[in-house]
Amino acid sequence: MTEAARLEPQVNHIHLAKKDYEGAESTMCKGCGHDAITASIITACYESSIDPRRVVKLSGIGCSSKTTNYFMNQSFGFNGTHGRMAALATGAGVANHHMLPIGVSGDGDTASIGLGNFAHMIRRNLRITYIVENNGVYGLTKGQFSATADKGSRAKKGWVNPWNAIDLASLAILMGATFVARSFSGDRKQLAPLVQAAMNHNGTAVLDVLSPCVTFNNHEGSTKSLKGIREMKDDLNEIDFIPEFEPIDVEYAPGKDLRVRMHDGGTVVLHKLKDHDPTDRVQAMSVVEQGMHEGKFVTGLIYIDETQPDFATQENVCDTPLSMLSEAELRPSAKDLALINESFMR
């Protein structure tokens, strides 16, 4: 941190300091993974010189969902109902497709109550950076299993989970997601550039981020404890994101490295650690499956497809945001009405 701090310029490309990306004071438990993710989001937005006023923060209900309040005070935010953020974002996204939506959800929020709406949002390829702060537990309601808790995992209350975990990354790929990544709250080096890339993706970018709940799911017997995750984490690639306004001067090893130009500008540079091509959907599915099989959390950029139109494009929405259209553009004329009336006289 200190080293990075010294190197960091005081303001970014749009003359904002890092603190301009901060939000209200966090009310998470000390050490909660969610706070670390917040920090990575702040870093990512700062580094990418995102204008906070162009961002809409969206979330459901849960500890995780509260965190949209803890970054970017200058952005609009909407902390909705449990499990419906995907649909809320769909409405907000189509109403004003010029805004940049960042959604934060929990594993309960997304994989339990919100599963259906999550799947259908992906199907529509809504433009959004959708971050699941995945701790395998219901934090805010004090420690029940969520649907991403691993089979055999032990809850703080002593209960043992009998059900297989839902893997959000493979589900996202199956549902047609065009950007799927997995990371760990504690790995800011991996997470921040993933968030940067996601924000420049023109479609649904799902980030399944393992994020230990230090209060209710950090004990022996839990697979989503800090220790558990560290042991099981398995990186597919190292990732760099180079914003549009910066020269691409990272090291690049042809064959081993991969460059993807993002639809909305900027470039992702991937240094492969495993033999995995993230543009191959079938491979993407199986690398995750394989990982699970071996008891590993595969992380990194798992799948990317920059060619698909996003929801607003598919809906053929006009350039002016729908929310900004004027009466002149919306209300047909008295003559139009006369014609309609006439048609009802026949």
Binding site: R53, V56, F78, N79, G80, A86, M99, S323, L337
Partner: protein
Amino acid sequence: MAEMDTPPVNDVNICVATANGSGSASSNQILYKSVFKMGIPCSGKNLFPSNIQGLPTWYFIRASEKGYLGRKDAIDVMVLFNDDTLAADVKKVRAGGLILYDDSRPLPPALVRKDVSYIGVPAENLVKEHIKAPQLRAKQRNMVYVGAVGKLFGIPMGIMQEVLEDTFGNKPAVIESNLQCIELGYKHIEKLGTAQDVGFLKAVPNGNKHKIMTEGNTACAVGAIFGGATVVTWYPITPSSSLVEEMIERIPAFRRDEHGKNRYAIVQAEDELAAVSMLVGAGFAGARAMTSTAGPGLSLMQESIGLAYFVEVPGVIFVIQRGGPSTGLPTRTQQSDITLMHQGSHGDTRHIVLIPHDNSSAFDMAWQAFDVADRFQTPVFVMMDLDLGMNMSLSAPFAMPDRPFDRGKLLSEADIKAQGDKFSRYLDLDGDGIPQRTIPGNLHPAAAYFARGSGHDEQARYSEDHIVYRKLLERLRRKYETAREYVPKPIVYNGASTGMGLMSFGSSYEPTREARDIMATRGKAADHLLLRALPVNGDVRDFLASHKEIYLIEQNRDGQMTQILRDEFPEYAARIKPVCLFDGMPLAAGDIVESILGGN
């Protein structure tokens, strides 16, 4: 009765019994529109099953020179074109009435009543004989009764042909073959020389000159387009689907920009939870957003309706009521979702409900709803029902909105600057309970706020403070009180009242109007108040105060509107007697009269 002597003119009630999916929708339409074209006020009500093909369906065409458009109990003419329901249908026609049936096969003797007359038209045989394509026969058989009825009651062949042409415009083959079948029926009756004395239709020159005929869902669809709806979310459900489907058909004509792009988005959601959440998201983001649903969907939307109420997000929700509870009777009509609209969601809520009573007011309230929603920053319901929404009826033409969009206290960047660069999302500056509002895209540094369904203070910050919370709830209630004077006022129809008052709303209006006239002829003159919105306002209190005996006509079992009024006006609670008619049939004046005065 007098009608037995001189057959009445332009006062005929026809019921057509057919099977679903048999093509009778078209033939009934032709018949209905022909009556309209003759200048006679008329309504066309479809009693259809929750099924796609083969189950019984009945269509009621009522021609009423006096302009009564409600269902009439007494059926003058029964067209028997469904073998499955013959036995029951024969009983439905009034004594002295007429039965038209397909005599390709003889009617079972058991079905022959002495007190009605029978006329046969061998539709099946005629079609078999004259229509070459066998696959067309089943559907076109129904056109034969159109011709027969036309001839019997005096609808000129030329008018039916015109209607056919209006309806099938550019499909000459369809027009031709349909016309052929209509003529078969027409000529058959002509040849028989059969007459009847049930009633006649006689053209009224310019009779429907300033009238349009359409369905309420269409009226809402057009109204919503004129109201500036841009984000339309929906999930199909009877009887609401046709509202959005009409929009899908109509909106492109008005909302394509110069690059061929859409100035709207119509999103079919995966369920109603998503539809309403999308609505809330779009409303928050500043679009004029709407959805349309029926009972089961309304139940599923409850949680997010409370969110919109508490976060103060505008949105318009059309509810086309059907027979509840549960799946109930999806193709029958009721007014039984009133409580769930008015007090929907957990916690204390009070929602604004606009209540059209005909097609022209449905159009008006559809566009107005977007203004009301924007002004009050809250979900606004437009309460429809199947009878209003899916049946053909007459009304005044749609009137061009008389005022520009009211987007309420929506601040632009300049507005914030003008008030000293200050903005508090939930501060009641004006004492009317309505705060100011901004939307994403407003780049003023003070514009952004954090919306949440949990407790919050005037600056939209999280708060669990009990005083902040109480004040917030009180302000929300104040907003509802402000809305009281903004929403459409009731209309009072006073006469030489005997102290009796009738109150109606929505689709109950028309039959109540008729019931009042009937009651007057029975020496029981009553005044009539039409409720047009919740919260109630205007003359309601006076009406309650000045009538000792008040009947509130409701199409539900439990007197849902009565409960609301009794609570609002406890001092008059005992005067308000609910007349609850909830069998799912479009309401008939006779039932109202009977409930109030007793059987004749």
